[in-house]
């Protein structure tokens, strides 16, 4: 029988109280009538099954009824309902969007089998914590390492695809044959590379990405075995990868094997291979790292000149993100949490205010026999309904916001651009909604039920209760704290953005159009052919109306780190470190003028600097400062990129690697002096045009000129220099915009929270104000009283808020671009804004208090 009574606890208590005794009596009768242990056990089992089933149904029916009543009750007060849903939508929407993004970028496994075993392998040089591998070092590591099942290498590549409609420039990757087996992703159709494809002299083979296969070849399944033309060379398509295979970046459209020649292994300082390995099962990253360090030490011994000070290290592929990328996301998560806290505090205050206003109704229902438990259940089901409605809206908002936030997904990870809407996201939204509902719905409901009763009937609705008032004040203070943290953080990031934007890049940014014509090799292996192309294009472009000058450069500043080469001065060879290397770019005449890089001494590259003349170089001021401080640099010689160069000019420094990174000193070489089959990788690609006319007006004419110069030459990356600069600060700008929106919402909500609390307090204290006025208190005294209460709330939130904001600022210091975490201007502005908001929130309740009519109030009481 005890067993049955215990089972009855599965029912709601009201049901158990009503029918429990009788059900037990029936079970006892049935038990008495059944004979034998087997029959009794059978009865117990069937009782268990039917009680579990029926209890669930009873709970469901009660819950459904409660939800129905709650829905009706909520529909009767649409203002409250809409406000509450809006608050939940704001709080949860911000968090679902931001946390889905953060989960996608920082936590979720990469789309490869056992992604934790995938490691990037880097060389470490003094001043460069991560440098690509040279082919020779890569080959030696493969031969010696026991930690990896296999170690592959890749680099970035782009080719002209001709013969499939308009010529187009497509991004791809040169890879070692074992890359796909390291990643353990099979081809969708066809096969991937074998060792036979990846040897010197092997016929060209290519694996296509799903998107290129669809876009350029219409998803033709017969493509396997067909030849396509890449940079005028024939490649046989051997496979197509699945749609979700993105490697190394999501822009990669094809993969070709390296087909290293023996010559490629000769220079250990030519670092251009990204190494990626799969750890053997049971081998840790630390073990692999130690082994690589030992190999590096051995290589230093074997090749003391080239490998001096070169170390090797492994980094988990998932950890490839920069600290800045992580901080950007952490910052957004923190901001979203602040918004949630503020929204929830407002929601709790709203529910508390509503519960107080309903005290009389609930007291009446209690006195008419409704159980406290029933009332609590109904109040909770109201919260659940509000939460679910808000949660659903929030999920919609988050789904809509994800594409806007997707630019914060770093390109360094082989994942898609927009985080997918999936079960994880929906579960997170549901979990957060339930937490919000439980966290901020239960307490007001409990308070209401505790407060309801005969006392509620007796004193009516004007029973705020000191404890309850304290709780509401604490919530408002929490809102102020969170909004101050957001205000300061946004302020600091805005100042950081301004600071970055105000950095002088060293070149002109306005009125400049650039576009890329990446010449294919071996078609343009001969210098004369390249120069013919550059010369024709530049001559024709310079004739266009409004064009002041034009030139070609290996790559625009900011868009490419540049080739980093060791510099040898006075015959002293140097180990490559950040302090002994310079960046290399080939340029055509007219480039400095077009890009507005000032020539400080001597001259720029000219038409007369041809391949048969001694090699000349234009260097930047920092180059001169490093090697010939306070000396005349013109006419001096240095060795760079296998050749001796004579300095013919000095130009201003530019930020070649980006606005936030100091660049190595720059060396510019004349493109005409590059020998046939020389530095083809560095052949100028970006055409830079300075014009007094809007750049977009020139574009059709420029396209025509390029088409005439080489009809098979595709044009890509058409952009103004202003756009390039905007791209530099894009992730900062997006993060700042999101933060500003969050902060705006937060400050308005905090202001409304203060207003709501004070308006409520004033309405509760109308009688007191009336008596005070009747006893001779001035209106100014009453006004001051309310104002002081508001000010107290603001200050109580401001002090811890500023302290927390400082901690947050210290945490994101590396994002602040030199702005101090305790920046006085930002902190003062945030404090002032917070006080103004408080004042505005306090003003109306204070005026209402002043307008209290003592006679009317006394009469009403």
């Amino acid at each position: 029988m005890n067993f049955y009574r215990l089972l009855l606890h599965l029912y709601p208590s009201s049901f158990r109280a009503e029918y429990g005794e009788e059900m037990s009596a029936i079970f006892s009768l049935q038990l008495g009538q059944s004979s034998g242990v087997v029959a009794k056990c059978g009865l117990c089992l069937s009782a268990f099954a039917e009680i579990v089933f029926n209890a669930a149904l009873v709970h469901w029916e009660i819950g459904r009824r409660d939800l129905f009543h709650s829905a009706r009750s909520l529909l009767r007060s649409p203002g409250f309902t809409l406000t509450a849903i809006l608050l939940v939508t704001i709080g949860i929407g911000a968090n679902v969007a931001v946390f889905t993004l953060a989960n996608f970028v920082l936590v979720r496994p990469l789309p490869f089998p056992e992604p934790d075993r995938l490691m990037k392998v880097w060389e470490n040089h003094p001043g460069y914590s991560r440098m690509e591998l040279s082919p020779a070092n890569y080959r030696d590591v493969i031969a010696s390492s026991q930690s990896f099942t296999d170690l592959a290498a890749y680099n970035f590549n782009s080719v002209n695809l001709v013969g499939q409609g308009e010529p187009q420039r497509i991004e791809g990757s040169s890879v070692t044959a074992n890359l796909f087996s390291v990643l353990e992703r099979p081809a969708l159709i066809g096969r991937y590379f074998s060792k036979e494809d990846d040897r010197a002299g092997a016929p060209g083979t290519v694996v296509l990405s799903y998107s290129l296969w669809q876009a350029a070849f219409g998803g033709d399944r017969e493509i396997i075995g067909k030849a396509i033309s890449l940079d005028d060379e024939s490649y046989t398509v051997i496979g197509v990868m699945p749609p979700d295979f993105r490697f190394p970046t999501r822009e990669t459209q094809f993969w070709t094997p390296f087909r290293f020649k023996e010559l490629d292994y000769q220079d250990r300082n030519n670092n251009y291979l990204d190494g990626i390995g799969r750890l053997k099962p049971g081998v840790s990253a630390a073990q692999a790292g130690s082994e690589l360090s030992l190999i590096a030490a051995r290589l230093r011994g074997q090749y003391p000149k080239e490998n001096e000070a070169v170390d090797l290290s492994v980094v988990a592929m998932r950890d490839e993100l920069t600290t800045e990328s992580r901080l950007l996301l952490f910052g957004l998560c923190g901001a979203a949490l602040c918004v949630l806290i503020i929204a929830c505090a407002n929601l709790a205050n709203l529910l508390l205010a509503r519960s107080l206003a309903r005290q009389r109704e609930l007291s009446i229902r209690l006195s008419l026999g409704a159980g406290r438990r029933n009332l609590l259940r109904q109040l909770l089901s109201e919260s659940v309904l509000l939460g679910l409605a808000g949660g659903a809206c929030a999920t919609g908002v988050a789904i809509a916001a994800l594409p806007l936030l997707s630019r914060l997904v770093p390109n360094a990870l082989p994942i898609q651009q927009v985080p997918p809407v999936d079960v994880q996201m929906l579960l997170f939204a549901l979990g957060l909604t339930l937490l919000t509902v439980i966290g901020f719905g239960v307490a007001p409901a409990l308070q209401t039920c505790r407060g309801a009763g005969f006392s509620g009937l007796r004193v009516g609705v004007r029973t705020g209760g000191a404890g309850r008032q304290g709780a509401r004040s604490a919530l408002v203070i929490a809102e102020v704290v969170a909004s101050v943290v957001l205000l300061v953080s946004s302020g600091l990031l805005i100042r950081a953005l301004w600071r970055v934007q105000s950095v002088n890049p060293g070149f002109r940014t306005s009125g400049i159009l650039s576009l890329r014509t990446e010449l294919p090799f071996p078609k343009y292996n001969k210098t004369s052919m390249r120069e013919q192309f550059y010369s024709k294009v530049l001559t024709d472009v310079r004739r266009l109306p409004g064009v002041t000058d034009a030139g070609y450069i290996t790559a625009l500043p900011m868009t490419w780190g540049g080739g980093i080469w060791p510099v040898e001065v006075n015959g002293r060879s140097q180990i490559r470190t950040a302090g002994t290397s310079a960046s290399l770019r080939f340029v055509t005449p007219g480039l400095f003028s077009a890009l507005g890089i000032p020539i400080k001494l001597g001259r720029g590259v000219s038409e007369s600097d041809t391949v048969d003349r001694p090699w000349v170089a234009v260097v930047s001021e920092s180059f001169v400062r490093r090697y010939w401080p306070n000396e005349q640099p013109i006419g001096r010689h240095f060795k760079f990129g296998f050749h001796d160069h004579e300095v013919i000019g000095v130009v201003g420094d530019i930020r070649a690697r980006g606005l936030e990174r100091t660049s190595e000193p720059q060396v510019y070489l004349g493109s005409q002096q590059d020998a046939d089959d020389g530095f083809t990788y560095y052949a100028p690609k970006d055409l830079v045009i300075h014009s007094s006319q809007p750049p977009e007006q020139l574009l059709p004419a420029i396209r025509q000129i390029l088409h005439v110069s080489d009809p098979e030459q595709p044009i890509s990356d058409v952009r103004t220099m202003d756009e390039v600069m905007a791209g530099e600060t894009e992730s900062r700008t997006i993060q700042m915009r999101v933060l500003v929106v969050f902060t705006g919402v937060a400050i308005v909500l905090a202001g409304l929270g203060i207003y709501g609390l004070l308006a409520f307090t004033v309405s509760m204290r109308q009688q007191e104000f009336g008596i005070r006025l009747a006893l001779g208190a001035g209106q100014g005294d009453i006004f001051k009283m309310v104002l002081v209460q508001g000010a107290w709330l603001a200050v109580a939130g401001l002090v811890p808020g500023l302290a927390l904001a400082y901690i947050a600022a210290r945490f994101m210091q590396s994002l602040l671009a030199g702005v101090r975490p305790a920046d006085a201007v930002t902190f003062s502005a945030a404090a002032a804004l917070c006080l103004i908001t408080t004042l505005m929130g306090t003003l109306f309740p204070a005026l209402r208090a002043v307008r209290s009519d003592p006679t009317a109030i006394m009469r009403a009481e």
Binding site: E18, Y19, F27, E50
Partner: protein
């Protein structure tokens, strides 16, 4: 009233059987279980859980009421509650019976039920 009845149809078989068992006299829970089993020749044996869940619903819908009239003390068990069919309950049971009759008529016309005289 007619709309109230319509809204409750079709009845769940359990509800219909409980109404039938209360049609001739007031009964307590266990008596209802026994009566339903007797009427259906043991084919439908209501469990206590199902019975009281149905009773709760029927009380709320006004199909039955708890009656204060109790048998003589020597025949009574104070834990027992007695239920009585209400006029609404009776009308709903009749409407359900009518509905089933119409269904049967239709089935006969279609030849899926035997024609009896």
């Amino acid at each position: 009233m007619a709309d109230d009845i319509k809204a409750l149809l079709p009845l769940q078989p359990t509800t219909f059987h409980i109404l039938l068992s209360l049609a001739d006299e007031d009964r307590h829970g266990y008596a209802i279980i026994l009566e339903v089993a007797r009427r259906t020749q043991g084919e439908l044996k209501l469990s206590a859980g199902t019975l009281y869940r149905s009773i709760q619903r029927m009380l709320e819908a006004g199909l039955i009421v708890e009656t204060r009239t109790r048998p003589a003390p020597e025949m009574d068990d104070e834990r027992r509650r007695y239920y009585r069919i209400t006029p609404l309950g009776k009308a709903v049971a009749e409407a359900e019976a009518g509905r089933l009759r119409d269904l049967l008529k239709m089935a006969r016309l279609c030849g899926v039920a035997p024609r009896t005289t």
